[in-house]
């Protein structure tokens, strides 16, 4: 079987070759590259059946490489990465190999691949990408651009987000606020769980809420313990969502 190695470190690539040799597998390495750009070009022309793919490449991620392939080879991810990313590989890839790679695990992985080749039941890459976007790429920060510099605001420091015409204003816990060229609707999909929409133009960070007062007509007043002690009133249309998130 023809195989191809995409590894940003030469040493890691050598390690794989060594494992193939020692495990006496019927694999022929037809190529190897360290960058995603080179990998896409070569894989698309050489059409190997199996790719050992590192997640973090020098110029892009392994997922970006997958998106640019014209056919669907078998993939074994090699990585040292996060648990939740590993969950993704379990769902969609043939297998993943955690670095440092052990000979036993490597052999098992190849066996699993051979079994799978009979069934040919791999999920499409599209669903992989959707999954990654939903589960891995949650927003962790906001980039604030001023002149030629960018500062990053940690999402854990954001107490509230407010819609302002075509912009959104985000309020930090220390009382600073920033304008972002985004819509609240778009932003809402990227935010982690602890952000709750309570009003047509307000999203608040649940972690900053320290008091909730009942208002009339199914509305609530949320008091936040940021520097300004912000107090934001919810609207009725978000009642059910609020009740669920705040267990009211």
């Amino acid at each position: 079987m023809k195989a191809y190695i995409v590894e940003d470190e030469k040493l890691a690539g050598n390690r794989l070759k060594q494992l193939i040799l020692d495990g006496t597998h019927d694999l022929e390495i037809i190529g190897e590259s360290q960058t995603g750009k080179e990998a896409i070009k070569e894989i698309n022309s050489l059409k190997p059946e199996l790719i050992f793919l590192d997640i973090q490449l020098l110029d892009m991620t392994g997922f970006d490489v997958l998106q640019n392939l014209v056919y669907q080879p078998y993939i074994i991810f090699t990585t040292a990465y996060h648990q939740y990313a590993i969950d993704a590989f379990e769902h969609f890839a043939v297998d993943y190999l955690l670095k440092p790679i052990e000979q036993d695990k490597f052999n098992k992985s190849i066996k699993k691949l051979l079994k799978m080749m009979d069934k040919t039941s791999m999920q499409s890459f599209d669903s992989v990408n959707t999954w990654i976007k939903q589960n891995v790429k949650k927003r962790t920060s906001f980039s604030i651009k001023k002149n030629d510099k960018i500062t990053l605001v940690d999402i854990d420091n954001v107490a509230w987000i407010k819609a302002e015409d075509k912009y959104v204003e985000i309020g930090e816990k220390n009382g600073k606020s920033h304008l972002l060229n985004k819509t609240l609707k778009l932003l809402e999909t990227e935010l982690p769980e602890n952000f709750v929409r309570i009003h047509r133009s307000y999203i608040i960070n649940r972690d900053f809420v320290f008091e909730i007062h009942k208002y009339f007509k199914g509305r609530y007043v949320f008091k936040l313990n940021d520097n300004d002690r912000s107090s934001i009133t919810s609207s009725e249309s978000y009642l059910s969502e609020i009740k669920e998130k705040f267990e009211l």
Partner: protein
């Protein structure tokens, strides 16, 4: 709390010095003559500095004449100046004329005061005051404490205040400007002060504010201020590692003692070269511009010190409450810091071990180097006894270990340059602040010519400025902070709330900029 005491002492000390600087220059007072409820007083301006000066006055037997003379003893020379007051009466027109004369050597003369009225005496005194070399004032016994306060006190306190305001404005400006344009601008403020001082000293000698006339005195004035200024610059540079209080005290005494020593020596040399310069023409008696220069130096030193204190207090928003809060947070932050530090990215370890496994069978040397670097690196990380802060030297050493591993992993693809200026090497910063940022630079630094990472550090006044460059694609607005940068951000927030900078820049080259105030914590 300890710091608060230090600052209070500094403030009181400064105010005291301001007052003393005036008093030194006002000298001592001796009442030499009393008449008609008026007291004649000789203000010996230089007495505090030169104790050899004597003032004598004589009255004639019938009490009609008043003769003053000052005897100033320089080592080998004797100058005697007689100030004489006399009254002439034109018998035909019955007009009283008052005359004052000053003469050198033994041309003494006499004058009668018998018939002088109160107004005439006051006029007489004011005309004597026009003479240089001595000053007479008269006051009635009711004039109170302020009667004793010479205008020089007021002048130098006033100058202290002016310098204080100037320092306040200029030092703040310099800080802002130097942040943007680099160290060169640090010279602007002290340079301006030196220029003004020299201008003042020179101008004062020639009373009519003639700016430049290259006399011996102007050279002395200029050098007495300029040389201590150079010394001052040198001290600032060398003292960049001291904390705020020590540094300010050092600056203060450098200005004063530097000016005193250099000014005295130069005045002495000037006197030896041309003693005539120091005599009759000089407003500032026989010492050249020395007392003025000294007074100015003390005013400048005090003004500068006060200004820096006030700036610092504004900076801290002045209140003890805030200080306490900060102390409380520091205690809390140490706990948080420890937890932050213990959780450094484990993937690096796994990747490195994978590389070691790869080289183990083929390249023993490389394996050894890598294993040793890795062990040094983790030894640094897991060092528990160290608290939140370290000095840049240690961080750079750690970075070298870290980059040694990365270089083995990425071979020719990775080039690293570290440029730390010598004044920054002992600056304080949170432990393990830079590693996640450098790791980030390596991770995202791939460009056309491989991964090029450059780290620079310098100190500009109170700021430690670190830049981490990489050759990768520019920072975009869609970037998200990962674990590493998040921890860096948290460390800075904990230890330097609102007093730090963490910026991602694309111009002039892609880099991460960190600024840490060295006065904090």
């Amino acid at each position: 709390m300890n710091k608060l005491v230090t600052y209070t002492i500094l403030v009181l000390g400064t105010l005291g010095f301001l007052l003393i600087s005036g008093l030194v220059n006002s000298g001592m007072k001796e009442i030499v003559y009393e008449k008609n409820g008026l007291q004649f007083e000789y203000l010996n301006k230089s007495k505090a500095i030169r104790p050899s000066q004597e003032v004598q006055f004589f009255t004639s037997q019938d009490n009609n004449e008043l003769t003053f003379y000052m005897n100033e003893g320089y080592k080998n020379q004797n100058f005697t100046t007689y100030l004489s007051v006399y009254k002439t009466i034109d018998p035909e027109e019955n007009v009283h004329t008052l005359s004052v004369k000053a003469m050198n050597k033994d041309l003494s003369f006499q004058s009668t005061l018998e018939d002088l009225s109160h107004t005439e005496l006051v006029n007489l005194i004011s005309s004597i005051n026009d003479f240089r070399g001595a000053k007479l004032s008269a006051y009635t016994s009711e004039s109170g404490w302020f009667g004793y306060v010479d205008d020089t006190v007021v002048i130098f306190v006033l100058f202290g205040l002016i310098f204080f305001i100037c320092c306040l404005i200029f030092n703040s400006m310099v800080k802002i400007l130097s942040k943007r344009y680099g160290t060169r601008l640090e010279w602007i403020f002290p340079g301006t002060i030196v220029f003004i001082l020299a201008f003042y000293a020179i101008g004062f000698n020639f009373s009519n504010w003639i700016p430049f006339s290259l006399s011996l005195n102007s050279v002395i004035s200029f050098c007495s201020i300029f040389l201590p200024f150079l010394l001052f610059r040198f001290v600032i540079r060398k003292s960049s590692n001291l904390d705020f209080a020590d540094r300010e005290v050092l600056k203060f005494f450098t200005i004063i003692i530097g000016t005193y020593v250099i000014g005295a020596v130069l005045s002495r040399i000037g006197f030896a070269i041309d003693s005539s310069n120091f005599d009759n023409v000089m407003m500032i008696e026989k010492h050249g511009p020395f007392p003025i220069i000294m007074g100015m130096a003390i005013s400048l030193a005090s003004g500068n010190l006060l200004a820096n204190l006030v700036r610092r207090m504004i900076y801290h928003r002045g209140s003890e409450k805030l200080l306490k809060k900060a102390e409380g947070e520091l205690g809390r932050s140490n706990v948080e810091l420890q937890s932050l530090q213990s959780t450094i990215n484990p993937h690096f370890l796994y990747n490195s071990l994978n590389s070691i496994a790869s080289t183990a069978k083929v390249d023993g040397d490389k394996t050894e180097r890598m294993a040793l670097a890795l062990s040094s690196f983790y030894k640094y990380i897991t060092n528990k006894k160290n608290e939140g802060l370290t000095i840049l030297k240690n961080e750079v050493e750690m970075l070298n270990n870290y980059l040694e591993i990365e270089k083995i992993r990425f071979e020719d693809n990775l080039t690293v340059e570290i440029d730390v200026s010598s004044n920054a090497i002992n600056c304080k910063l949170p432990r393990l602040l830079l590693q996640p940022l450098v790791e980030n630079a390596v991770k995202y630094g791939y460009g056309e010519s491989g991964i090029n990472v450059k780290i620079t550090a310098e100190r500009i006044s109170d700021q430690l400025i670190i830049r981490i460059y990489d050759s990768g694609a520019e920072f975009g607005l869609d970037m998200q902070i990962g674990f590493g940068i998040k921890s860096v951000n948290q460390k800075l927030e904990l230890l330097y709330p609102d007093q730090h900078t963490l910026e991602f820049k694309n111009s002039p080259a892609k880099h991460i900029l960190i600024e840490i105030n060295q006065n904090e914590v």
